[in-house]
């Protein structure tokens, strides 16, 4: 509730960024909303991780988008990006950026998309 009170109204934003120790941006490149994240296979030290890091690792057992992590962990996207950065730095997650990044997808992908949609 406390996080949502901040998110829903015009209230001050304190709690969501507490777990990032005040950081508002990841140190390295941004995670796209549809970048897909998956937890690493091997054992990863969870020492020093916040509970929110652990819930992200749980959500990412199967490939999951940054947007889905944000929605399911009930954290603003900005916070998720920072926590993901922590996890990536220690090798706990792998990230796949969206097809062709900021550029529009290729014709090959579009054809695959059309076939996939038709088959639904």
């Amino acid at each position: 509730m406390s996080q949502h009170a901040a998110a829903d109204g015009a209230g001050p934003l304190v709690r969501p960024y507490a777990m990032t120790h005040g950081r508002t941006r990841p140190s390295s490149d941004n995670f796209d909303l549809i970048a897909l994240v998956v937890a690493a296979d091997g054992p990863v030290s969870t020492e020093g991780l916040e509970p929110e890091h652990r819930s992200i690792l749980n959500l990412a057992r199967q490939p999951v988008s940054v947007a889905e992590i944000s929605a399911r962990a009930d954290l603003p996207v900005g916070v998720v990006r920072i926590l993901l950065d922590d996890l990536r730095v220690r090798g706990a997650v792998q990230v796949r950026s969206p097809m062709s990044g900021a550029k529009a997808p290729t014709k090959r992908v579009l054809r695959a998309a059309i076939n996939g949609l038709r088959a639904l």
């Binding site: 901040a6 998110a7 829903d8 015009a10 209230g11 001050p12 934003l13 304190v14 969501p16 960024y17 005040g22 950081r23 508002t24 941006r25 796209d32 909303l33 549809i34 970048a35 897909l36 998956v38 690493a40 296979d41 490939p63 988008s65 947007a67 889905e68 944000s70 929605a71 399911r72 603003p76 996207v77 900005g78 792998q94 796949r96 969206p98 097809m99 062709s100 990044g101 900021a102 550029k103 529009a104 997808p105 014709k107 992908v109 579009l110 054809r111 695959a112 998309a113 059309i114 076939n115 996939g116 949609l117 038709r118 639904l120």
Partner: protein, 192 residues
């Protein structure tokens, strides 16, 4: 580890209550989710939120759904925020998108003008899907095209956002249109 799939995205835009969330939900394989971005004007461009207590924040919400198209390809559908003042979020949403569906509600056709303007200016390929609300006067796609002053090549079709098949058809129309646009650009030598 298994290969991580790739993701692509399509935007669903339109005025307040035009049926964006309904369309996302009718084709999504998961219940539509909502994600929030909390923004403070002061936080833009700085890395430290000390003293954030004094700052006013705004929350921007996006509804989205997911469709697994093939083993290696996942499609995300984002319902763009309806409120005009959150347009700065659209830039992030439209970056790298396949294209956009503009949902038109014929009871309030003017509500989708801003979406049409936005995608035209940005060069994002879009189609217009006219959501057929019960009791609303039926328009022909051609009337909507004229009312919205659309380029002749922009597809306009009728839909029922509550029906999965109808929404699916809208998405296929969009992706086919984008593909056709690419081919035309290539033939015109516009793409290297």
């Amino acid at each position: 580890m298994d290969e991580i799939p790739y993701a692509i995205k399509i935007l669903v835009a339109g005025g307040f209550g035009a049926g964006k969330t309904t369309m996302v939900g009718s084709v999504s394989e998961i219940e539509p989710l909502r994600t929030e971005e909390v923004i403070t004007a002061e936080s833009v461009g700085i890395d430290d939120l000390e003293g954030v207590e004094q700052k006013t924040t705004t929350t921007v919400a996006m509804d989205f759904g997911r469709i697994t198209l093939t083993d290696g390809l996942v499609l995300y559908l984002f319902g763009t925020p309806g409120q005009d003042r959150f347009w700065f979020m659209w830039d992030e949403l439209s970056l790298g998108a396949v294209g956009a569906v503009v949902l038109a509600d014929t009871r309030r056709l003017a509500d989708c003008f801003p979406s049409v303007d936005y995608f035209e200016q940005r060069g994002t390929p879009f189609i217009v899907a006219v959501n057929c609300f019960d009791g609303a006067k039926r328009y022909r796609p051609e009337d909507v095209r004229v009312a919205l002053d659309l380029d002749p090549q922009v597809p306009v079709l009728l839909c029922d956002a509550r029906r999965r098949d109808s929404s699916k058809g809208v998405l296929i129309t969009l992706v086919e249109y984008v593909l056709q646009r690419y081919s035309e650009l290539e033939n015109n030598g516009a793409l290297a």
